[in-house]
């Protein structure tokens, strides 16, 4: 579904040096698979996911999504991706329905299909009570449901989710995690970043441990535990990040 090879991203820094936000990251995600990016704040997760979603360009490397070269044809790649970030907000002065119609048009969907998908998602996410209310009057949970509908509207085979549960209450977080599980069951590929170890343990088929821009380890949970001699992701991460075995 997605193949990323040798992705790197650098920014200009003081004294002509560079900050390396992402260094030589290579991995792939298959259909029906959830890949978790696990790392502390500032590890490079957001930069990497923004590159995969074609929001920013990498300094080096390549990304292919369903055989589409995402750097050469970012618009074609974007049609295959649903992107949701913990920081994503919605237009407060538009209603949920207007928001969905707007994004449907930006994705180049026909009006008839937009209407059909809105009806389907409204039923699926139980949004009929607030779909025609302005977003600035919705609760956090309701907003997140509209956001999920926005991500799913064009039926993308790949979901890229950047800390989607950041700052949410338990109920809303659970709904998001349930949505990720459902997406996987529907055969979609999911890449999501988090710094909540429990979320990663619960959902991910494979986990990439990212630290200071480098992917330090990438494997299944069980394989990571075995290679580091640990039994939980927190210890695994510390062992990988510091290069020392945990007690």
């Amino acid at each position: 579904m997605l193949v990323a090879e040798n992705i790197a991203k650098s920014y200009a820094a003081p004294r002509g040096e560079s900050i390396h936000a992402v260094v030589d990251a290579s991995f792939s995600v298959a259909k029906g698979e959830v890949l978790g990016l696990l790392g502390p704040n500032g590890a490079g997760k957001t930069t990497l996911l923004r590159i995969l979603a074609t929001i920013i360009k990498p300094s080096a490397g390549s990304v292919r999504i369903n055989d589409v070269d995402a750097l050469a044809d970012p618009n074609a790649a974007r049609r295959l991706v649903g992107f949701l970030s913990g920081n994503t907000r919605l237009y407060g002065r538009l209603t949920g329905a207007e928001t969905l119609r707007y994004f449907g048009r930006l994705y180049g969907m026909k009006e008839k299909r937009i209407r059909k998908r809105i009806d389907e998602l409204t039923a699926l996410l139980d949004m009929s009570a607030f779909l025609h209310r302005r977003c600035d009057s919705l609760s956090t949970g309701q907003l997140q449901r509209v956001n999920i509908a926005r991500v799913m509207l064009h039926d993308p085979p790949l979901l890229i989710l950047d800390e989607p549960t950041l700052g949410l209450d338990i109920m809303t977080s659970r709904a998001i995690l349930s949505f990720i599980g459902d997406a996987r069951d529907e055969g979609r590929a999911v890449i999501f970043s988090t710094h909540y170890m429990t979320e990663a343990e619960m959902l991910c088929d494979r986990i990439a441990l990212i630290h200071e821009g480098h992917i330090r380890a990438l494997d299944t949970k069980e394989a990571l535990f075995a290679s580091t001699g640990t039994d939980n992701l927190q210890d695994t991460f510390l062992a990988v990040a510091t290069g020392t075995p945990t007690p």
Binding site: Y11, A12, P14, R15, G16, R50, A53, T54, I55, I56, K57, P74, N75, A76, R78, R79, V81, F83, S85, N87, T88, R89, L90, Y91, G92, R93, L94, E98, Y102, F103, R105, L106, Y107, G108, R134, R150
Partner: protein
């Protein structure tokens, strides 16, 4: 470009803006309701006040020896009520009287041929008192004329004896033209301000506002494409700017005309014919101006990381728009070959010409085309900024000022905010202590201004913000070949500038005051040529280059393409010299110097070129050049004739050849033009 996507974004942004109560109040409620209310209530208030004053009798006391004579003249006046008061001046000051007439030396003018001194005391800030003065003056002047007529008749003299000249004047301007002059001076300025007001809020809200609300990332993740996004947003800002501008201007114009018609009797007759042709041309000029203002405001706002920061960045541009508009509103200023290319001023002048019925199709065409060209450049800049990932997704780091030095991360170049701050701050120093220092002593004042108010703040800012001096000031060893190429280029540039000055003077003559100030500055009898060269050539070459081609160029390059940074530094360099008559020449030199430093990445080239340009100008003006050169360059007839063609062609060839040599020698050092 995908017009379907642009239309989608445009419609969404319009809907979003229309649902914003603040925007609707600023766009619709204020112009449609507030201006008419203010003007109509104001006009009615004025009329009521005028009527009240006219209906009220003036309370007047007469004092002095001839009190009874003067009082008798006023007794028949309907609106004058004579009062007996002990201390008339006191009564006037306390408001118990509206005016006092003091009679002084002299005797009764009715009895003989003497003259009587009569003085009216009144309070100019009291409308009742001012009205009293007018009534009394009118009555006393009338009485004076009657007495002259009586004396002339008594002496059997002809009527013309006391009136050797029958002086009168007649205004040939039609009422339409008088009203056109009045409105043509005010409305263009208001139009520029209203377009600015119209674009201000949406330009910020659709860029920095969207960044702050966290919706930009979502938009960028769609297949809309940045070019379509910027066009969709720009068209929204442009439409709102136009609608607000037209609503504001229309509402204000109607309100002003209504007010004028109501107070016609007080202020004289007004009349204005507005033809459809005029409205069409005015609209055609307004479109590119709104386009230009919208694009510039959007380009500036996208630099900001938050709504508040964007307000801080856009406000100086909004205020700066007033200058060219005020220039256009000045009496006697008309559209000419020079100013028809000055953005904002040209449209304001075209409006003025339309109201006066003096606009020509050629002038209107030049204004519309040049404004459209500036607008496209501004939009190009906004589009380029939108393409920068760092510009759209940067986190809010806030202002860099007022932080402890230790909290600054060492950086290679100053930020754009620091560059703009430096310019604004040194301008303030130039305005106040700089002007004061130069008024005390021109030479030491210049030295204090250059080293104390330009060089020192620049170096302090770079040191305090922990900026790498070598990188930000381009302190690199220059190549000998490129340095050598600068010499003939700078000398040829002076010749070309002299001719440019001649052309400019035909459209915008140098005022005598400016000429005198220069002559005083360059008077070698007060100071020798060498000290003069040090103060006027060496010093600015160091101080101004460090600030403009060093700190400001490197700061603007962080967020702008090279061409935009070079043009902006050049323009600001021109503005820095605080003279509309020197703006073009200094801005052109500024652009050249900035390109030289950008190209060579070495400040030394800029310092040398700056020194040569200033130095050779001094040598020409002070006559310290070989006789054959002075015959041409310092010819007093130069302003009329211009430089000889052979010299212009020669200078142009030398300039181009030296610039090519300079470009080639710097390319060998590993630079590119891009």
């Amino acid at each position: 470009m995908n017009w379907r996507i642009i239309r989608t974004i445009f419609l969404k942004e319009c809907l979003d803006t229309l649902r914003d109560r603040r925007a609707v109040i600023a766009m619709v409620v204020v112009p449609v309701l507030l201006y008419p209310a203010i003007f109509i209530i104001g006009a009615q208030g004025l009329i009521v006040q005028q009527a009240r004053i006219e209906a009220t009798a003036s309370r007047v006391a007469v004092s002095g020896d001839a009190r009874e004579v003067v009082a008798a003249w006023l007794e028949t006046e309907e609106n004058v009520e004579l009062r007996e008061v002990e201390e008339p001046r006191e009564a006037l000051l306390s408001g118990r009287l509206d005016a006092v007439i003091e009679t002084g030396e002299g005797s009764d003018p009715e009895a003989g041929l003497d003259s009587l001194a009569v003085r009216i005391l009144y309070d100019s800030v009291e409308p009742r008192s001012t009205a009293a003065r007018e009534r009394l003056q009118s009555r006393l002047q009338e009485r004076s004329r009657e007495l002259v007529r009586d004396r002339v008749a008594a002496a059997n003299l002809p009527e013309g004896f006391a009136r050797p000249l029958a002086l009168s004047s007649e205004d040939t301007a039609s009422t339409e033209r008088r009203t056109g002059f009045f409105l043509g001076s005010i409305l263009p300025l208001l139009m520029v301000l209203m377009l600015g007001v119209g674009a201000f809020y949406p330009a910020i809200d659709l860029t920095a506002g969207e960044k702050e609300r966290g919706t930009f990332e979502t938009l960028l993740a769609t297949p809309a494409g940045k070019l379509n996004i910027v066009w969709g947003k720009f068209l929204t800002v442009f439409l709102i700017c136009m609608v607000t501008g037209i609503l504001n201007l229309g509402s204000m114009a109607v309100s002003v005309l209504f007010q004028l018609s109501m107070v016609e009797e007080t202020l004289g007759e007004f009349g204005l014919t507005i033809s459809w042709d005029m409205l069409l041309i005015a609209f055609c000029a307004m479109v590119p101006l709104a386009f230009f203002v919208s694009a510039i405001m959007m380009a500036i706002a996208v630099l900001a990381r938050s709504f508040k920061e964007a307000q801080n960045l856009v406000t100086p541009f909004f205020l700066a728009m007033i200058f060219p508009a005020t220039y256009a509103a000045m009496p006697g200023m008309t559209l000419n070959a020079f100013n028809q290319f000055i953005p904002i001023a040209n449209v304001a002048l075209l409006f003025k010409a339309l109201f006066l019925g003096e606009a020509t199709i050629e002038g209107a065409f030049a204004v519309i085309v040049s404004t459209a060209a500036f607008a496209l450049l501004a939009l190009q800049l906004a589009t380029w900024l939108f393409q920068q990932d760092e510009m759209l997704l940067a986190e809010d780091r806030g202002f860099a000022f007022l932080r402890r030095r230790s909290s600054f991360e060492p950086q290679s170049t100053p930020t754009m905010t620091m560059g703009l701050f430096l310019f604004g701050f040194t301008m303030l120093l130039l305005f106040y202590p700089g002007t004061y220092a130069q008024s005390q002593s021109i030479y030491s004042g210049l030295l204090i201004t250059q080293y104390g108010f330009i060089l020192l703040p620049t170096l302090l800012l770079l040191w305090y913000a922990r900026i790498d001096l070598r990188e930000s000031l381009s302190l690199r060893m220059p190549g000998l070949a490129s340095l050598a190429a600068i010499v003939p280029a700078s000398l040829a540039w002076i010749v070309l500038q002299s001719q440019t000055a001649v052309w400019q003077a035909r459209a915008l003559p140098f005022p005598d005051a400016l000429r005198d100030a220069f002559e005083q500055l360059l008077d070698t009898t007060q100071i020798g040529v060498i000290p003069l060269l040090f103060i006027v050539a060496v010093t600015p070459a160091i101080c101004e280059e460090v600030m403009f081609r060093g700190a400001m160029l490197s700061s603007f390059r962080r967020r702008m393409p090279a061409w935009a940074a070079i043009l902006l530094v050049g323009l600001l360099f021109g503005i820095f010299h605080l003279s509309v008559h020197r703006l073009l020449l200094t801005a052109l030199s500024g652009v050249l110097l900035t390109w030289i430093v950008y190209r060579s990445r070495s400040l030394a080239h800029g310092v040398l070129a700056h020194f040569l340009i200033n130095g050779s100008a001094i040598l020409v003006v002070t006559g310290n050049l070989p006789e054959f050169m002075l015959r041409v360059l310092a010819d007093p007839e130069l302003e009329q004739t211009g430089l000889p063609m052979w010299m212009l062609l020669g200078a142009a060839l030398v300039f181009l050849a030296s610039m090519v040599a300079f470009a080639m020698s710097t390319r060998r050092q590993g630079n590119s033009l891009a």
